[in-house]
Symmetry: none
Subunit: 215 residues, 2 copies
DNA sequence: GTTAAAATACGCAATTTAGCGTATTTTTTT
DNA sequence: AAAAAAATACGCTAAATTGCGTATTTTAAC
């Protein structure tokens, strides 16, 4: 059985999606959520879900934010965006957030079913209009460049230096040797870095630093 | 009538593609070419063509160069790449060259037919495995730069799955929960991964996996 | 020149990772 | 049907990381 969750703020559309899948016996709709926060709450209780069909425009927490969080906590869960809009921004953000596919709500039952199967097999699906936009984005690499929310974390020079060494996979005592410092100092720097970046381990720190172009 | 040209250096494959389309009456195979230069010559005589099904690996002039030239001379002609390989480099280069779609040769007749129609309607199509690679390239723009020696490490599916979770910054017990396994099992997988990749910690493993496009 | 920020350093405790061995069960291949 | 590979799981031990508190020295800012 394929365990699926539907996230949409419109109850009628929730139902419409469910109806499209009703005749495929191997698909089981485990639950429906009304918005991103609702989804997170429900996953917290039971994350035994294979795939999520996610709307984008929703109150409380939209589908893109929700995708980002779900993917960071449960990377094995596949997410297909299901939306009425196909504007570039949403597509781009969804992909960045980690969506595994992108369909328009007008998709027919067979296509939706097929999309679910292909996604679980490890592929990705997009409606042709979305695929086209994806290709266009590809041919315009400058669109990649502007990452808007370049937050300010006020890392010091030394902290950045330590972070750079961390990102090479070095352990504290190697970094200490490299910078002619004590291991205790490195530890303290790391601690301060974690506080500033609001993370709790090397990898998260490196990822956050990279996505904010600190290193 | 939809006027189609087939470009492939292998006569048997040319025929195989033609056969897939034989029962769709609105599709007319106007001509077949054996390589890029042959195609250009034939287009020079008659460019009244709607769409080209293009192989990549070919003598004289490969499909990517041919695509670039055709698109610059006859931008209205749609081009779908049809290839046996789905390596990142070919996909990327084809897109840059202006291809409107990318299919694997194993595509079945209905899908191929549908792809042609969708492409002529102004959309784009990709097989799910290609679409996935496209998404991954999107999320890792640094992968655009060239691909070095892709070594073989023989990681199993499960090991890759664990590695992917590791790469999100999850700790062993979260991974265990996500995959419904014991922490001991995760530890063992990680150990085996490290042995195969010849590394000694998370970060090195992730870096090696990424640079070899395992994840 | 005083103040604030940054860099340095240690100690303690708890958690997480890593390395090695062993063993059973399940799946795949031959 | 037998053999090989993959997936599962646990125990022991050591090493490394993380979190928190405290404190001194150096550098930069006012």
């Amino acid at each position: 059985m394929i365990k699926v969750a539907i996230v949409d703020d419109n109850t009628f559309l929730q139902k419409a999606i469910q109806d499209k899948l009703i005749f495929f016996n191997e698909i089981e709709i485990k639950f429906k959520a009304n918005h991103g926060q609702d989804l997170l709450d429900k996953l917290d209780k039971n994350h035994n879900i294979d795939l999520i069909l996610m709307d984008i425009e929703m109150p409380k927490m939209n589908g893109i934010e929700a995708t980002e969080i779900v993917k960071s906590k449960y990377p094995q869960i596949k997410i297909i965006m299901l939306t009425v809009f196909d504007n570039d921004e949403n597509i781009f953000k969804s992909i960045k957030a980690g969506a595994d596919g992108y369909l328009l709500k007008e998709v027919n039952p067979e296509e939706l079913h097929n999309a679910i199967l292909e996604t679980l097999k490890g592929g990705a699906i997009m409606t042709p209009s979305i695929a086209l936009k994806t290709l266009k984005l590809f041919r315009n690499p400058e669109l990649f460049e502007d990452i808007p929310n370049q937050e300010e974390y006020n890392l010091t020079t030394r902290e950045i230096e330590v972070l750079e060494q961390l990102s090479k996979g070095l352990k504290y005592n190697s970094i200490a040797e490299n910078l002619f410092l004590s291991v205790g100092t490195i530890r303290k720097h790391v601690e301060n870095i974690y506080n500033k970046l609001q993370v709790h381990n090397k990898l998260e720190a490196i990822q956050k630093a990279k996505s904010n172009k600190i290193i």
